[in-house]
């Protein structure tokens, strides 16, 4: 009498395992078929060969977003008198940063670090309470501190380590670029950093136009550039594009491939759950088995007969 329930159980485990396996196989083989890159999104093009490192973008970003973005000026260790705002990296106080890549003492390149505004953002995919959202029209990825629980899963998920957390505050929040969505963008129609760049190293516009502009620059001066637009395909497309004269990896822009990780993980999760049908089915069949087992045990006790009748 014992074997049917066992068989049933094994069958269920088998079904679950098969679902998992199917998810794993399907997931890894998946191309980004469901995803279409939207070139009508707003975007920014950063040209590392033009950047002169004046950091006007950094100071402007901080000035216009200080309150709404909970930013702050940072004091460096070398600066006891507090003369500079000198962030060493993106942080809970800074969401746009110009870094200097030193190839040799006489060869260098500036590089801008800020949110890439992915077309399929991992941070949005993982946020359990929808505090991180992507506006499908503009493509801007925004953070809402009024909803955020501070779990920092977005930081785990982001391939570029962009979202930063305020470790030193009792009431902390996540800090990341939102393309001046509530400040400069509605006011002057462009981002703070792009509006002040004196050499047009940061160019704001429609993604499609920026791709064409980037390609025009690569074609016009091929010896100056690496023939590649970083962000055109990365992780299913970024809305922050970069062109440069040095390999992007050296500038701190990692090689991440074209597949959005969120597509892979969501596929597996949804394959397992099948729109919550799978858990309900599992519960139902387990209830059936368990209640039958209980009845059998009670019968055993009732007849007070020991031994297995299997």
């Amino acid at each position: 009498m014992k074997s049917p329930s066992r068989r049933k159980f094994l069958k269920m485990v088998g079904v679950g395992g098969a679902a998992l396996a199917a998810g794993a196989v399907g997931g890894s083989a998946a191309a980004s078929d469901g995803l279409k890159i939207n070139n009508d999104n707003v975007a920014m093009l950063y040209d590392a060969t033009r950047c002169v490192g004046c950091k006007a973008c950094m100071t402007t970003c901080k000035r216009v977003n200080l309150d709404s973005g909970s930013l702050a000026y940072e004091q460096a260790e070398f600066d006891p008198d507090g003369l500079w705002d000198a962030p060493a990296d993106l942080s809970g106080d800074t969401r746009t940063l110009i870094k200097l890549h030193k190839e040799s003492p006489t060869k260098w390149a500036y590089v801008k670090h800020s949110c890439m505004h992915c077309q399929k953002p991992s941070c949005v995919s993982v946020c359990p309470v929808s505090a991180m959202t992507r506006d499908p029209e503009s493509g801007i990825v925004t953070y809402d501190k009024g909803i955020c629980i501070g779990c920092r899963y977005c930081q785990i998920a982001c391939a570029f380590n962009i979202p930063r957390f305020q470790w030193d505050k009792a009431l902390p929040q996540i800090v990341k670029c939102d393309m001046c969505k509530s400040t400069e963008l509605p006011r002057i129609g462009t981002t703070g950093c792009a509006s002040v760049c004196p050499v047009d190293a940061i160019h704001f516009g429609k993604r499609g136009d920026l791709l064409a502009e980037a390609q025009r620059r690569l074609d016009a001066e091929p010896e100056k550039y690496i023939q590649y637009i970083y962000g055109a395909q990365e992780l299913g497309g970024l809305n922050h594009l970069t062109i440069a004269g040095f390999p992007f990896e050296k500038l701190g822009l990692p090689i991440v491939g074209d597949q959005p990780p969120a597509e892979f993980s969501e596929k597996i999760q949804h394959t397992i759950y099948k729109g919550f049908i799978a858990p309900v089915a599992l519960y139902g069949s387990l209830c059936y088995v368990a209640i039958r087992n209980m009845k059998k045990a009670e019968q055993h006790n009732g007849t007070e007969k020991k031994g297995d009748d299997a």
Binding site: V25, V126, V129, G150, C151, Y153, G257, C287
Partner: protein, 435 residues
């Protein structure tokens, strides 16, 4: 379902030396938690933007809930595989699970930066079904409630049979100060007792549906704990980043669950000076190597399929931790394949400990050791951070110690089945005399 005579309250003093040691550790931990809420997470922890999840998530949540899977593993064995002979062991397993899960939830509240926003989990418009974290959070909350209901019969039985000795002592102590109305208090207590007596049979009728829910929920969230890091495809080392993470985490928690039941039972018997439940233990021990064998096969097969067997044998930092995890689980299982060693408490304990440590190391490897956010990022937990985790573990053990002496949790001793403590430790004789 009248199984409540399977259990007994352990009759012993509550205020033992170990009680005070654990209490001290708990208080230190909770003082540091207070500091964290006043001065921010950075004040007590070494976590940083590259390693936003440290030891709290890796141990207290990802590993702690696996260690708390004893209740889950036993429920599968008893109610689904129909092995009712293990029923007396489930209540202590449920109690450990309750502490493990309850405190994992508590740790999350310490770890998250904006806990006051957690109510968003209950607002459907904020639900984000793409997030494995959302699934884990809801399941863990639901499962903790389920465990509480599963443990409720123990509490109700105690209330029903209580002589209110402590209450009387308290009233006696009050007497000289503020003459309490004894009759009124006692009639209220009688009401509570009647309420418990009314509730218990009603609860018993529906309990099986709760128990099955207690099997469904861990199946969901333990696999989701594996899904949680799937998205960090550029950060988790290829030795551990695979589409099979959900399956591996699920099997992993079940064999850790059984191993923990072994360890917990052996330690309880040893420290509470009760005979070892050797027959049940060796029965359980037979299941574990079957599970680890499946798990190890999936691990190896997946590595081979993805072409990373060479990475596993590269003998660098990552391969070292992988091999350690692998050998601990495989080594512990090898011992358990041996029928004679399964009859020995010592070997059972050693192998269960090896498998638990190996299985836990797997989770550490996935969440922390194999996590590489990029150049320049380092993490090692700070002392304060560790002490918060130690405090929470101490509180867990403390609570278990106290509650088994207050409620009927441990299996009832059947003198015809077990020899006294002294002889129970020499196992071959136990086996012989039982047969």
């Amino acid at each position: 379902m009248s199984h409540h005579d399977d259990y007994q309250t352990h009759q012993a003093k509550i205020l033992t030396p170990s009680f005070y040691v654990l209490l001290t550790l708990t208080l230190i931990g909770f003082a540091l938690i207070a500091l964290r809420f006043i001065k921010g997470i950075g004040a007590v922890s070494n976590m940083n933007d590259g390693y936003p999840w440290g030891i709290w998530i890796t141990y207290d949540v990802a590993t702690g809930t696996a260690i708390a899977c004893g209740g889950y593993a036993m429920a599968i064995l008893i109610y689904i595989r129909n092995n009712m002979q293990y029923h007396p062991m489930i209540r202590s397993a449920v109690l450990t699970s309750l502490f493990g899960y309850g405190l994992a939830g508590f740790s999350v509240m310490v770890d998250v930066g904006r806990p006051w926003n957690s109510y968003n989990f209950f607002i459907p418009s904020r639900w984000q079904v793409n997030s494995a974290m959302f699934e884990v959070a809801l399941c863990v909350m639901a499962y903790t409630t389920v465990l509480l209901i599963e443990f409720l019969p123990a509490i109700l039985t105690t209330i029903e049979e209580s002589k209110w000795r402590r209450m009387h002592a308290f009233l006696d102590w009050l007497e000289p100060h503020i003459k309490p109305n004894r009759a009124a208090v006692l009639s209220k207590l009688e009401l509570v007792r009647l309420g418990a007596a009314w509730l218990r049979p009603k609860l018993n009728k529906v309990l099986i549906f709760v128990i099955v829910l207690g099997i469904t929920l861990p199946t969901m969230h333990q696999s989701s704990l594996g899904s949680l890091v799937l998205i960090a495809s550029t950060k988790v080392h290829p030795l551990w980043h695979t589409g099979f993470l959900p399956l591996l985490f699920l099997i992993n928690c079940i064999y850790i669950g059984f191993s923990i039941v072994l360890i917990e039972s052996i330690i309880s018997s040893y420290f509470f000076k009760r005979p070892f439940e050797i027959k049940e233990l060796s029965g359980l021990a037979k299941i574990i190597p079957a599970l680890t064998l499946i798990w190890l096969t999936v691990v190896i097969g997946d590595l081979a399929w993805r072409g990373h067997l060479g990475t596993a044998l590269a003998l660098d930092f990552y391969s070292g931790f992988f091999l350690l995890e692998f050998c601990l689980v495989a080594g512990g299982s090898l011992i358990l394949f041996n029928g004679r060693k399964r009859e020995s408490v010592r070997w059972l304990f050693v192998s269960a400990a090896l498998i638990t440590i190996g299985g836990a190391l797997y989770r550490f490897n996935v969440y922390l050791i194999g996590f590489q956010p990029g150049k320049g990022w380092h993490y090692f937990p700070s002392l304060a951070e560790l002490m918060i985790t130690v405090g929470i573990i101490a509180f867990e053990i403390l609570g278990y110690q106290v509650l088994v002496k207050v409620f009927p949790v441990l299996p009832k001793l059947h003198l015809d089945l077990h020899l006294p403590y002294g002889q129970g430790r020499h196992l071959p004789e136990v086996k012989g005399s039982k047969a």
